[in-house]
Amino acid sequence: MSLKRVHPLTRVEGNAEVAVKIRKRRLQELELNLPTLRKFENLLCGKIIDVVPLLVAKICGVCPFSHQVAASMVLEKALNIDAPPLASNVRRLILTMEHVRSHAYNTFLMGLQDSARLLGLNEKELVYRLFRSGLNIIRLADKVLSSIAGGPISPGISTVGGLLKMPNIELLTNQLRKEAQRTLEDMYWALNLSKNLTVSKYSEVFNLEEMPTLVTSVGENYDPIANTLKIHEEGYWKKLDDLADIEGLLSRSVLTGPFARATFTNLRLKVEWQNSNLLNLYALRILEIINALSYSMNLLKDLKDLKAHYRENPQEESGSGRCFVEAPRGTLIYECEVEKSIVKNIKIITPTEINLPFIKMFSRNVVEKSLAKDLALQDTIENLKTAIRVFDPCISCATHVEVIE
């Protein structure tokens, strides 16, 4: 019997651990242990509503604004108000740039060691160029987010009813136009390189046996706050709005994130999708970065024509609501009940939580396939780490999941 503990596993806070038991080159057990729970929902109950968008941004330092926008939107829903169109478009812009920053972290920094291993990149120069490309695109996103939201992590400007402040759109447009051109060349280069991942040394073990059920809330033309949940089953997309069905998602092996978004928006047709291989996620994220830059430029054009009204004050004090926001890792679901402007109940379902049953199933498959191919234990473990990190290095942001298996 060989027991291998892999720690740290994730690239973000908490450092999840996976324990793998193998007997006679067969997988006996795979246990994924998550770090200490932060119980954020407990922290939010009893709080005055205005503090909620500020607090939830502290759930995740990689995707803080997805939480902030989701909290603002769910409270608006509960109190029966609509944010002005200008505020919604600024939120779209903030989330799109957050996708860029988060994807750059995921693909070029947190995932660099994995992709370099799979591609057999031995040249330091090449690995460094990938790292530098990642840092450059992160810097671009940081600059834009600093101009539009006060920083890439905080303070943020989304609040109940709209925005706290209107950013300087003209300054932002010039900044984005100037900087985006410089980074696009690197992105196309990285995109070409990442396509080789699906024909790389260990790529076969990352093949999907069958297409997973996909879930997304992204709108056509990539709208991250379209606020409708869709599920892809038997070749069709259908709207999912029954509460039981939504809660049922957590017990099913479904996949949310770039894979689902790309299928819904047909973006994945741009990737050579000759097989359903999860390593395509690298290319998809880079494509999403490229797409996000042009989507943001278009949003900025629209913003100029909107009236400068950016906040509505709620008239009601009690109610309940639910909203769906498309975060970088996938659909983020918020449900909330408010009584006299105080949060009575709140439930946050993160994309990571939706993906966990799939992660568990997929990581088992990767280990089994690696063993069946007679790969060394070390390579098997490296493949397992890649399998988990390739689509979700953010295990710790799952706010109320305890232990898997």
Partner: protein
């Protein structure tokens, strides 16, 4: 601090990763990485060993489970630097009482604390460059008001607090408008970013001196119906306790 061949490690405990991404985003990090100073950083690489590190940056608050690890780090590293409000004061997560999260200095001796949620980029870069150049890192000893565009406050004491959050556009000091703002008692360094972007100051940089909260509260009149929410806000970063 400083030296020729400093090996640096980054340890992640219970937090949100925001402080570490802020470090990676900073202009100084690329230099640190390129010069091969970064020896342990699980966010970016699997290999590496914390044992050989001269300086260990710790992000996040500590749970009971983390004690042995921190004690080992303390025994081996020359310097421990707490980064961010969770590591320095317990942070937002420490508000969930049953988690039992603590700031790092409650578990082991800490050589330097860099607060902020997340710490400002200029302070991060300045601190990281001390590792390369050996220069001394200096804290700001003034309060957030000194960096605030709405300074000076023309309010007459005692100030009656009417709101906990700014409502809409504001053109003058929040305290003048009766909005709670911890700027006067909070250490500067953030360029009053939260106030500039429409929030109040919630004290993530820490108190300028331990007694300042008591002195400050004595100057405020807080209506009974707001006291519970004020307590929540004062506790936001886990550093201060306000018993009304």
């Amino acid at each position: 601090m400083g030296g020729n061949t400093t090996k640096v490690g980054f340890l992640q405990l219970i937090g949100c990763s925001g402080c570490l991404t802020s470090i990676v985003d900073s202009t100084a990090f690329k230099d640190l990485w390129n010069k091969g100073y970064v020896s342990f950083f699980p966010m970016l690489k699997d290999d590496g060993n914390m044992s050989g590190c001269d300086v260990v940056f710790v992000e996040g608050a500590a749970s009971k489970k983390d004690r042995p690890l921190l004690e080992r780090v303390r025994a081996e590293a020359k310097k421990i630097i707490s980064v961010g409000s969770c590591a320095c004061f317990g942070g937002v997560s420490s508000n969930v009482r049953d988690l039992g999260l603590e700031p790092i200095h409650s578990v082991v001796k800490v050589d330097l604390e860099l607060p902020g949620c997340p710490p400002p980029e200029n302070l991060i870069s300045s601190l990281l460059y001390t590792l390369i150049t050996g220069r001394e890192f200096k804290y700001k000893t003034v309060n957030v008001c000194s960096e605030c565009p709405f300074h000076p406050c023309k309010a007459k004491y005692p100030i009656v607090i009417r709101e906990l959050f700014p409502k809409g556009r504001h053109e003058k000091c929040l305290l003048e408008e009766g909005v709670l703002c911890l700027g006067p008692i909070t250490r500067a360094g953030c360029e009053a970013k939260c106030v500039v972007w429409g929030w109040s100051c919630y004290g993530c940089m820490g108190l300028i001196k331990p007694t300042s909260l008591v002195d400050f509260l004595a100057l405020l009149v807080i209506p009974k119906e707001l006291k519970h929410s004020v307590t929540n806000l004062l506790n936001l970063y886990g550093e201060v306790e306000y018993v009304s």
